[in-house]
């Protein structure tokens, strides 16, 4: 199994642990990863200001992978959603596709729509399969409750992203449970983390984040688990900002990336998973693990 790994802009600059842990998990599971140096912005942040620019960005990435005959695995859900949106719209509109391809042609690229774009959770669930992962798990979590956060842009709009059942998804919960952890039900599990508004309307953005953290805590979660760059920065960096600014005493709920959670149970060293990179300390999670 081979994929071009799409990291996007934030992971190498600010969420290095997501890259580290993903690569470590891919290695352990036996997925070959190809890096395409020419990849650019996924296009997601540009959508508010210029739709065409965002589709062009996404299309260029897909054209680059297509040139090498590779499918793409995306770690971020916003990036994944953007790719799916671009793919969907380019299939729908020939005029747009021609316009985009005219620009790409200047550097010898063409988007044909042959490359498939998948989110890392989809790859693990569908391409690898729970059984295979289960076999590789060497340390199981015990008595740990995880609030699994789905993330909007992978789940919706469901007719475009086709990730899982948008109303009652279970893919992510099952992936969490394969490690022995319990994925709890919590009311706001499908709600927005608040990230799309950080920098635009911080108060609103942080309100949404706080609501989710409070709801997850109240539902008994020990940790929050996410699998998206933006969600993670929101639950980690921004939660840390909220805590240190002394915001009405919310109870800190550490957020762990799925690849870190899975990586530990696959027996990967916490250093190789970049656990120390998280702002809100998650080092104690190892106490929930059985020994090898």
């Amino acid at each position: 199994m081979r994929f071009a790994l799409f990291l996007g802009c934030n992971i190498p600059a600010r969420v290095k642990q997501y890259e580290l842990s993903s690569r470590a998990v891919f290695r352990k599971i036996g997925i070959d990863i190809i890096d395409i140096k020419e990849f650019n912005c996924c296009g997601y942040p540009l959508r508010n200001i210029d739709y065409k620019a965002s589709v062009l960005s996404a299309a260029r990435n897909m054209a680059l992978a297509e040139k090498q005959g590779l499918n793409i695995v995306v770690l971020c859900m916003c990036g994944f959603g953007m790719f799916k949106e671009a793919e969907h719209r380019l299939k729908e509109s020939n005029a747009l596709k021609e316009e985009i391809n005219a620009i790409l042609a200047k550097e010898g690229l063409e988007y044909q729509g042959k490359t498939e774009v998948k989110h890392i959770l989809t790859v693990l669930y569908h391409d690898v399969g729970l059984d295979v992962i289960k076999e590789k798990v060497v340390r199981k979590y015990k008595d740990i409750k995880i609030a699994t956060h789905y993330g909007c842009h992978a789940l919706r709009p469901s007719d475009v992203v086709m990730f899982d059942d948008p109303v009652n998804p279970e893919l992510f919960d099952k992936l969490v449970e394969v490690t022995g952890a319990k994925s709890i039900y919590w009311q706001s599990r499908l709600d927005c983390c608040g990230a799309p508004l950080l920098g635009i309307n911080d108060e609103l953005s942080m309100d949404l984040t706080k609501k989710k953290i409070v709801n997850a805590s109240e539902s008994g979660a020990d940790y929050l688990c996410d699998s998206c760059t933006y969600c993670h920065m929101q639950f980690d960096n921004v939660q840390q900002m909220i805590i240190s600014s002394g915001h009405d005493g919310i109870h800190a709920l550490p957020a762990i990336l799925y690849t870190q959670l899975l990586g530990l149970s696959l027996g990967i060293d916490s250093k190789a998973l970049g656990l120390a990179n998280n702002r809100v300390d998650i080092s104690k999670i190892e106490e929930f693990l059985s020994s090898i």
Binding site: P45, R47, N48, K106, H153, P157, C192, L198, L204, M241
Partner: protein, 580 residues
């Protein structure tokens, strides 16, 4: 005489230019809280001394070797460019030391030095060849290979042309001298002490046969006896100071090339003419150096070294600002940043070259010098804001410039001016949100408010909540053409308000209408009624978290979130169109 005057003149201009450029390092305004010139100068002095007399000197030495001498960053990114640059850089430096400054340096180290003997004669041509090959590679990369979005500006042309003139005039000057009979005559007069024409003839024959001299009357084929005699004279009088010109392989080739017209060229004094071109080109390069791309020879090492021991969090703010001013001059316009820029492709749709880091840095220098305003300023601000802060430009910059830091500082100082920037209302602002603590509170919110207010300024309808709105005539232009086919599904809305009921943003407020203007279902209604101003002027657009709950749950399949996305695009487009 002319030579000395032009040399000293060039040197004087160079020194004045250097002083002027260095002074700008302490006066350019980059930081929001810019410091005084004198404070910056003293702080810089203190910082430099502190760095040199501390353990950091080891880091500086290591970085000097790896990044200034070897240039490993360039090698890692682009081997061809590295090869081209190293060939030019090392060879030109060696030519400068060995050839241009021979009377000051080479002749002191080697007392027997003469430009006409080996190894100097050969090495001069070898280094010259390396420079020429390097320049050819540069031309190949910039004009034939043409990496996407790599820009070549007037300064790049100047650098290439100047190097080419210096090198080619040098080669042809050497060629003209090798073939020149008059130079040969004057050498004979100066070094052999022979005056008798019969005595000189064998030597001339020997030099015409073996040294490329073209004599107007002494022509081969020569008698072996004559040549043998010539060799004897040569070995007693000339050999110690003159190697065979074949060793100067480029000059010799040039001489062979023009052999047929060498006598005419010599009579016309072409070698003198070429000599003027050669040294004048060098002097012009020297005089103009502080204002040209070649200034990087001095400044880039400074930037590389400063960045290796400085940290924005720890270093004095005044020194960070000075370092950033230095960085403007350290940029070589190599285009590596643009080649790796995450949003460079957006240049194709925004048609704003300021998005490209290699172009942006030039524009920002003008902004820092207070030289930009109006439409240009707005374009530079837009270009600076369309940036995902991915840090790739900084990672690959061979000049060691902390570009991301520079963009951040310049953006914030530009936000202080009264120009609205709309890309702030997109997730591109995420990084700014994370960096909030480093920005004074008022400076943080002002540009956000300004962007929103500028957009809504044109839509009066939304501000008056009491007025009974008259429904305008059906605006088919807007409804049918502005929105895409997909988004135009708002027509199917039957007003169930599910979108509003599931919206987490609406749910966050006690009185959402007050904050958001219109709620999602009201936006869909306004579109149905053609009330463009209401739809485009609503705060809801910019407070939408794009979670797609509304769209997912709409029983009529209205693409609510997509409509909001399109309205955002339209609102920005129309406010920009008005500004122009």
């Amino acid at each position: 005489m002319f030579y000395s005057i032009s040399l000293y003149l060039a040197l004087a201009i160079f020194i004045i230019g250097l002083i002027y450029k260095v002074s700008t390092w302490f006066s350019l305004t980059i930081s929001v809280e810019s410091k005084k010139v004198s404070t910056r100068f003293l702080m810089a002095l203190k910082g430099v001394i502190a760095a040199i007399f501390s353990g950091r000197i080891l880091i500086l030495l290591k970085v000097f070797f790896l990044d200034v001498i070897i240039q490993r960053k360039v090698m890692r990114e682009d081997f061809l460019r590295w090869l081209a640059h190293i060939l030019i850089y090392w060879s030109f430096m060696l030519l400068l030391v060995m050839h241009a400054l021979d009377s000051l340096i080479t002749s002191r180290i080697f007392p027997d030095y003469s430009p006409t003997i080996n190894p100097f004669m050969f090495l001069r041509d070898l280094f010259g060849l390396f420079v020429i090959v390097g320049v050819c590679l540069v031309i190949y990369r910039r004009f034939i290979l043409k990496a996407p979005r790599l820009k070549t500006n007037a300064m790049d042309h100047y650098a290439i042309i100047l190097l080419a003139i210096i090198m080619l005039s040098g080669v042809f000057l050497e060629g003209a001298k090798i073939g020149s009979y008059s130079i040969y005559e004057s050498m004979v007069e100066q070094y052999s002490g022979m005056e008798d024409a019969g005595e000189i003839k064998p030597l001339t024959a020997f030099w015409v046969e073996n040294f490329g001299v073209v004599s107007p009357d002494v022509k081969g084929p020569f008698d072996q006896e004559l040549l043998k005699k010539g060799r004897e004279i040569h070995e007693t009088s000339c050999v110690t100071c003159h190697s065979r010109p074949r060793w100067a392989f480029m000059g010799y080739s040039a001489a062979r090339l023009v052999k047929g017209i060498a006598v005419a060229l010599d009579r016309a004094g072409v070698h003198t003419f070429l000599w003027y071109i050669h040294f004048l080109a060098c002097f012009i390069g020297l005089a103009y150096l502080p204002f040209s791309k070649f200034f990087h020879i001095f400044v880039t090492p400074v930037s590389i070294l400063a960045n290796s021991v400085m940290d924005r969090q720890v270093s004095e703010a005044a020194n960070v600002e000075t370092r950033q001013a230095v960085e403007f001059d350290a940029c070589t316009h190599c285009g590596q940043c643009t080649a790796r820029c995450s949003v460079a492709i957006s240049y194709e749709t925004f048609e704003n070259a300021n998005i490209l880091p290699s172009e942006k840095i030039r524009s920002l220098r003008k902004v820092a010098a207070g030289k930009e305003s109006g439409e240009n300023f707005a374009r530079i601000l837009e270009g600076s804001s369309i940036c995902t802060n991915c840090h790739r430009c900084t990672d690959v910059c061979p000049a060691g410039i902390n570009l991301e830091d520079l963009w951040f500082s310049m953006r914030e100082s530009m936000f202080k001016k009264d120009y609205p920037e709309f890309s702030l209302l997109s997730p591109l602002s995420y990084y700014r949100g994370l960096m909030r603590d480093t920005i004074p509170e008022e400076d943080y919110t002002k540009p956000l408010v300004r962007a929103r207010n500028t957009i809504t300024a044109g839509y009066d309808l939304i501000k008056d909540q009491t007025e009974v709105i008259t429904i305008p005539a059906y605006d088919s232009e807007f409804q049918d053409k502005s929105l895409s086919f997909q988004a135009s599904a708002f027509k199917d809305c039957f007003g169930c308000q599910t979108c509003t009921n599931v919206c987490p943003v609406v749910a966050n407020y006690e009185n959402p209408k007050e904050t958001l203007g219109l709620l999602p279902h009201q936006i869909m209604y306004s579109l149905g009624l053609g009330l463009k101003d209401l739809a485009l002027g609503s705060n809801m657009l910019w407070d939408c978290v794009t979670c797609y709950q509304c769209q997912e749950q709409c029983p009529q399949g209205v693409k609510v979130t997509e409509v909001l996305f399109e309205l955002k695009n339209l609102a920005i487009q129309s406010v920009k169109a008005k500004a122009v």
